[in-house]
């Protein structure tokens, strides 16, 4: 209740800054891991946190009306499978979504903080941030996570959204220093990211339809799972499939499990015929 006793000097519209000044204990990167940062060159350093769940292949592809963003469901801890149903694609607000690769814990926390950040700004200011503004803010949050990178806790997202000023879907990728780069067609990250990108590159065309871009996304995840141990393919026995969302002018929409299952059935039937 501390915010109520006196009006805070802090007068910004950023939830991130609010936490930083008033509740630094809740900041992801400010936690005391009780030790000097173990440099990356010393992976067995005493303070490097041993195998935590990791997220793996996530991708985004632009199409005629917007962007499709998708990810597999597997989480790994070293050589063990830590989870089969992990969700790596998140709705951030009404018009943008992010997909994460890296250490699951801090990644999910970053998503939650970013969601709160955008909603907080919108409520205080009465208007939404511009898409550009949202993408920059995410870059700053990744930069703030840099100290954690030295403990091996890397979080890298892809951020997609619909930019109403430009009337198009946009894709941003990031590096661990918060560097923000725009991709004009597609991108994939994570341990199977390269394999996914290879597939997309072969089949990508400008102005794909929603169905085709979704099929391409699922095919790329399938191929990535084929090559990369860290990426999970469609699990037909348990009925677990990669998740996807589409972002268009109208906002974010989940792609239903049935639609994804149907597309995979189609894809697998084709594969079998080819053999």
């Amino acid at each position: 209740m501390s915010s109520f006793h006196t009006f805070p000097e802090h007068d910004g519209s950023s939830f991130f800054d609010y936490l930083l000044h008033h509740r630094p204990d809740l900041m992801p990167a400010n936690r005391d891991w009780n030790g000097e940062a173990g440099p990356l060159s010393d992976p067995n350093g005493p303070h490097r946190i041993p195998s935590l769940p990791h997220g793996t292949t996530v991708l985004a592809i632009k199409y005629r009306n917007g962007v499709v963003i998708a990810g597999d469901r597997r989480a790994t801890e070293g050589f063990q499978i830590a989870g089969r149903q992990m969700e790596k694609v998140f709705k951030v607000d009404g018009y943008s979504a992010m997909a994460i690769a890296g250490t699951a814990g801090p990644a999910i926390e970053m998503v939650k903080l970013f969601q709160t950040e955008l909603e907080h700004y919108e409520k205080l200011e009465g208007v939404q941030l511009s898409y550009e503004g949202k993408a920059n803010k995410l870059g700053q949050m990744i930069k703030a996570n840099l100290p954690m990178v030295f403990h091996g806790l890397v979080v890298i997202p892809i951020y997609v959204g619909y930019d109403h000023r430009r009337n198009e879907g946009r894709i941003f990728k990031y590096d661990v220093t918060g560097g923000r780069y725009e991709e004009s067609e597609y991108h994939a990250i994570g341990s199977g990211g390269k394999d996914a990108r290879n597939t997309i590159r072969e089949h990508y065309r400008k102005s794909l339809s929603e169905d085709d871009s979704l099929k391409l996304a699922l095919l790329s995840l399938y191929n990535a799972a084929d090559e990369d141990v860290g990426t999970g393919g469609p699990d037909l026995i348990r009925g677990i499939y990669p998740t996807a969302k589409v972002v268009t002018e109208a906002g974010i929409a989940d792609v239903g499990d049935e639609r994804i299952a149907a597309l995979y059935t189609e894809l697998i039937t084709e594969r079998k015929k080819e053999r």
Binding site: M1, P8, D11, T116, L124
Partner: protein, 227 residues
């Protein structure tokens, strides 16, 4: 050293209360009414951008009457409190009751300790999910808190509005149209002039919405509802 003038505590509180009441009486009024889908909020507000009604959290809205700078500060503090709580715990742990209590504490402390009391009256309303009732709290300048049923009124001429609504509000006739008509009639009655829709700020907490239940109702839509 000259002795400071003695003012009895009773006198001091009375003076402060009078001062605050005077400030609030100058302001325009705001009504919150329960309707079939949730809670409707209507403010007599000629500005299209300086809002008096605002979203705090998923099912909670805020509304302030009196001095703009003061209730705007309270609004922001409320959003910070709610977002922090939702981030730390879970979205469902953010409640209107705890927010109303926080406001009551703040206003009460300022009223008794500061030289100048806040010239504001605020409403914190929360729409209940299907099986839970709505909650409406009115908090006045000295921190006193009232749990309202059916409708709540803040701002200048609130007694006249209260009387008008008490006579006409019927819980079983609560379509959006009937409720909005009632609110405009009430505001027109106390200002004794025809209020154009451009001069009204209308928003609703609609329990049928998924996630964030707050929504502003633009002028064009209000017009459509009323015809």
């Amino acid at each position: 050293m000259p002795l400071p003038y003695y003012v009895s505590p009773e006198q001091m509180m009375q003076d402060k209360a009078e001062y605050a009441k005077k400030g609030i009486a100058k302001g325009r009024s705001i009504i919150a009414v329960e309707y079939q889908d949730g809670i409707l909020l209507v403010a007599d507000n000629p500005s299209a951008s300086l809002y008096k009604i605002s979203e705090i959290y998923d099912s909670i809205a805020f509304s302030g009457a009196g001095k703009y700078s003061e209730f705007e500060n309270l609004r922001k503090a409320g959003i910070r409190h709610a977002d922090l709580k939702g981030f730390m715990y879970s979205r469902e742990d953010v409640t209107g009751r705890s927010l109303a209590n926080g406001y009551s504490q703040t206003l009460g402390t300022i009223f008794s300790q500061e030289l100048k009391p806040l010239e504001v009256e605020i409403l914190v309303v929360q729409v209940g999910e299907t099986d839970r009732p709505n909650e409406m709290y009115r908090i006045s300048f000295d921190g006193s808190i009232f749990d309202e049923r059916g409708f709540a009124v803040i701002g200048g001429r609130s007694e006249a509005l209260q009387a008008f609504l008490k006579e006409r509000y019927k819980a079983d006739e609560s379509s959006l149209k009937a409720t909005l008509t009632l609110c405009t009639a009430a505001l027109e009655n106390i200002t004794s002039q025809k209020l154009p829709l451009e001069g009204l700020e209308v928003a609703a907490l609609d329990r049928h919405r998924v996630g964030r239940k707050f929504r502003r109702i633009p002028i064009a839509e209000s017009r459509q509802i009323l015809t």
